[in-house]
């Protein structure tokens, strides 16, 4: 499991409650089925139930020590945001393109950081051919994990992401 070096991923504070309902209704053709995997049984609430209906099989078995959702909260009472301060990791959610696991950091009752890990990834192998375009420099694709502030990318709207995030938020509220 590799930890994302960035925290572009966000969180659902208000609208997160809608997510559980979405999970039970797989959308045709776009690979939105999600299965939540959670070894401590305390997770996910409504999101977990929906996931069981939608996905059935939980995939990507992992060593329990790695996949046990973690909660590292302080004893401070919930602040005005309604969340306990600390670090909360959601359940692993699997979907058509892989799996994802979201960790949130709560400071003063509000989410100050979100990161995701991707327990399984299948780098797509692509054939390569040459194509020269005027004005553009062609180069090889590199994969870096550099020290960065934030990340630009196509919108993260996958139900798997939302489901894992929701279970992390549930832990912060518990």
């Amino acid at each position: 499991m590799r930890r994302a070096a960035f925290a572009v991923l966000g969180t659902a504070i208000g609208s997160a409650l809608l997510i559980g309902a979405k999970l039970g209704t797989p959308t045709a053709g776009t690979g939105t089925q999600v299965a939540l995997e959670d070894t401590d049984g305390a997770a996910a609430g409504a999101a977990g139930e929906g996931a069981a209906d939608a996905g059935g099989a939980t995939s990507s078995p992992k060593p329990a020590s790695r996949d046990t959702p973690t909660t590292k909260a302080t004893t401070k009472p919930p602040a005005r945001g309604g969340l306990r301060d600390g670090t909360f990791t959601g359940a692993t959610a699997t979907y058509a393109y892989g799996s994802i696991r979201v960790t949130i950091t709560v400071t003063d009752g509000r989410v100050s950081d979100v990161s995701a890990t991707y327990p399984t990834d299948n780098p797509t192998t692509k054939s390569v051919n040459e194509r020269a375009i005027p004005k553009l420099r062609q180069e090889a694709l590199t994969a870096q994990s550099a020290n960065i502030s934030t990340v630009s990318g196509a919108s993260l709207t996958s139900e798997a992401y939302q489901a894992s995030l929701q279970s992390a938020l549930d832990r912060a509220r518990a």
Binding site: G10, A146, T157
Partner: protein
């Protein structure tokens, strides 16, 4: 994190929005500025949501509201969408679904407005990241620039470029996160040739629209993006080729363990950069 300032993440407009304010202002002031950013984005969400039948944009879409009766904000959005439709040869189309849906422009535009307001209120070092589209200004500390990654399409926890920037709008569209969802309006089928398109400019609404249009154009988008005036582009094709314009603010790939070339065995030597 080691970086001074305030960080906050909230879900708005159906996407996670992260805000980092880096100016050395009192914590209470920074919190108030962050509150203003999210209050504005939630206001935009309510007024421009096509999911809410009573929103201003829905009423305009149904013809219940004439352009003269629209708020200045909605008028600006309607006109910008018309401009972008022309500039992109119709590939950015707010009427693609059969009714007016400016969502593809509104997210970037609203973040741009939030960033402009922060600057006007004395917070000139910040970034706002709305679901992967970013407006950044200043840097983490005086004299420093932001280092912003562009996500690697096939390795979600890696980046394929690191951009060194101080005052930019960065928008990325792609086919990798939601599958093939960008439709080529002329062929009526999903575009797939360009896996990831990043556009760097000054206005996030425009940059986002150009990136989406580039993806929709498919292979033809390479030339169109290369010719965009006043914008820099970085593109990854479905074959795993990268293209970038001369002024694209990417740092050289870091050597050693922190900068690993992707799947060396899969890439013929001629496509790898000189070491």
């Amino acid at each position: 994190m080691g970086t001074p300032g305030l960080r906050r993440v909230e879900q708005v407009m159906g996407t996670p929005v992260s805000v980092h304010l880096a100016d050395p202002l009192p914590p209470r002031r920074l919190a108030a500025l962050a509150d203003e950013v999210f209050a504005w984005l939630r206001e935009v969400d309510a007024r421009f949501s096509t999911y809410r039948p009573d929103s201003e944009v829905s009423r305009f879409g149904r013809g219940e509201l004439s352009i003269e009766d629209c708020s200045p904000d909605l008028r600006y959005v309607v006109e910008a969408c018309a401009d972008l439709w022309r500039e992109t040869d119709g590939y950015f189309d707010a009427y693609a679904t059969g009714r007016f849906d400016p969502s593809g422009f509104v997210k970037g535009w609203s973040v741009q407005v939030a960033s402009d307001r922060l600057l006007a209120e004395g917070c000139g070092s910040h970034w706002i990241n709305a679901g992967g589209d970013i407006r950044a200004r200043g840097g983490p500390r005086p004299g420093e620039s932001w280092r912003i990654g562009v996500r690697h399409p096939w390795q979600p926890d890696r980046v394929c470029w690191v951009l060194d920037v101080t005052d930019v709008a960065i928008a990325t569209s792609g086919t990798y996160e939601r599958g093939l969802h960008v439709i080529d309006p002329y062929r009526g089928e999903p575009a797939h040739a360009l896996t990831s398109v990043t556009v760097v400019g000054r206005d996030l609404g425009r940059a986002d629209a150009y990136a989406t249009a580039g993806v929709a154009m498919g292979t033809a988008g390479l030339r169109w993006l290369a010719d965009l005036p006043d914008h820099e582009v970085g593109i990854v094709t479905e074959e795993g080729l990268c293209y970038r314009s001369e002024g694209f603010p990417a740092l050289p790939a870091e050597p050693g363990p922190r900068g690993v070339h992707a799947e060396p065995s899969a890439w013929p030597a001629r496509t790898r950069p000189p070491d």
